[in-house]
Amino acid sequence: MTEVKMTVNGKAASGNVEGRTLLVQFLREDMGLTGTHVGCDTSQCGACVVHVNGEAVKSCTMLAVEAQGAEVSTIEGQAAPDGTLNTIQQAFQDHHGLQCGFCTPGMVMSAAALLKDNPKPTESDVRHYLDGNICRCTGYHNIVKAIMAASGQDVSAIAGE
């Protein structure tokens, strides 16, 4: 067992893990942060996306020990301390960008990474950026729309309800 220490959503976090413990296991099982999900075992679905030192990574494809000393943020750390949704979260609700909610944490975290690099993405930018995030419920329409809306773009021309 190795002791790992990292910062998770701004708070110090530590635990003893095996070499094989994945970051997602550390978050879900040791930290109790069950918002990060596991939807596949081939690193494709993206339900597990978190940020490590500001970059989107698949927490199911990174060992916990590799996050030693890192700043990790998860879906639980996205809303304001008083619970107010952040811009992306609010846009997902406003535009019905989620249904069952299982892929949603990864989608929100990927969207946040996208908008950090590319504050006004085109539809094509958004769709390509979501290459590693699979949603089975929404058909992506409202996810793409929500992310574009969160970037401050007018989405009223995109087919709505």
């Binding site: 095996e18 070499g19 993206g46 970059e55 494809t61 990174m62 020990v65 590799e66 979501l130």
Partner: protein, 263 residues
């Protein structure tokens, strides 16, 4: 996963020492290795993470060569090589997905030599050199077949060097499920000739399409390769495409790469 120890060396020398341990295996970005471990298809006793080795990270360009540290992520390459070698940056920026590109490394990709990986095509077409802790290996001598390379046990890819061509383009057709290339072609036009490397197609891994190289070296035009047919006999045939289809795509991707360069 079977359990294993993880070593986190900060120098190449320490990594080499750690890799001398029994059943040790290097861990780079882990984007291929960790899923493999999850499926219990590998059982290393110790993983030696190359992630913390500063001397294996970063990109430099001088004298017509781009050198990329083995532990440099695809995302870094996509961003930092964009001026010096845009076709290579474009290749790196289209590997997997953004989260994969933030972890996956060039050294890991080149060491693994997946027959559908993107980087081997870029390295081979760019007449690149694979730099290890012990030697430099020319790309033509490095890629030996599907998942096979010239690397010895315990040898680490510390850097990869690319000769910067006059012009280049990477064209790929995706396998719809994995989003790896079903067939992809990297065409690099040098002053002394053209190199064409193909990934995804062959049972022997990445290869140079020499007929196309000859034709394009004589006449760098779409017409020069329009009539050429790649040999389909050793092409991969699977759920996503027959050998004949892959052979056909080799021609199409090559033509399109040439057209993109000439555009």
């Amino acid at each position: 996963m079977y359990n294993f120890d993880v070593e986190m060396p900060s120098t190449i020398a320490d990594a080499v020492t750690a890799l001398a341990r029994d059943e040790a295996q290097p861990l780079s970005g882990g984007q291929t290795l960790i899923p493999t471990l999850k499926a219990r298809l590998a059982a290393p006793s110790v993983l030696v993470s190359l992630h913390g080795i500063a001397e294996m990270k970063g990109v430099s360009a001088q004298d017509g060569t781009v050198t990329i540290g083995g532990a440099t992520t695809h995302a870094t390459v996509a961003g930092e090589v964009a001026d010096a070698y845009p076709a290579l940056a474009s290749l790196a920026g289209r590997i997997g997905d953004p989260a994969v590109r933030n972890r996956g490394t060039i050294g890991g990709s080149v060491a693994n030599n997946d027959p559908s990986a993107c980087y081997p095509a870029g390295v081979l077409a760019s007449n690149g050199t694979v730099v290890t802790n012990t030697r430099e290996i020319a790309a033509d001598d490095y890629f030996l077949g599907m998942f096979e390379t010239a690397l010895e046990e315990g040898e680490i890819v510390t850097a990869v060097k690319f000769k910067i061509p006059e012009a280049a383009h990477y064209e790929k057709h995706l396998q719809p499920a994995s989003r790896f290339p079903l067939v992809a072609v990297f065409v690099a036009k040098f002053a002394d000739g053209v190199r064409v490397a193909v990934t995804g197609a062959s049972e022997n891994g990445v290869f140079r399409w020499t007929e196309a190289e000859t034709a394009l070296s004589a006449d760098f035009s779409v017409e020069a390769v329009a009539g050429l047919k790649a040999d389909g006999s050793s092409m991969i045939s699977d759920l996503h495409g027959s050998g004949a289809y892959r052979a056909h795509l080799v021609g199409v991707m090559t033509k399109r790469a040439v057209a993109a360069i000439n555009a």
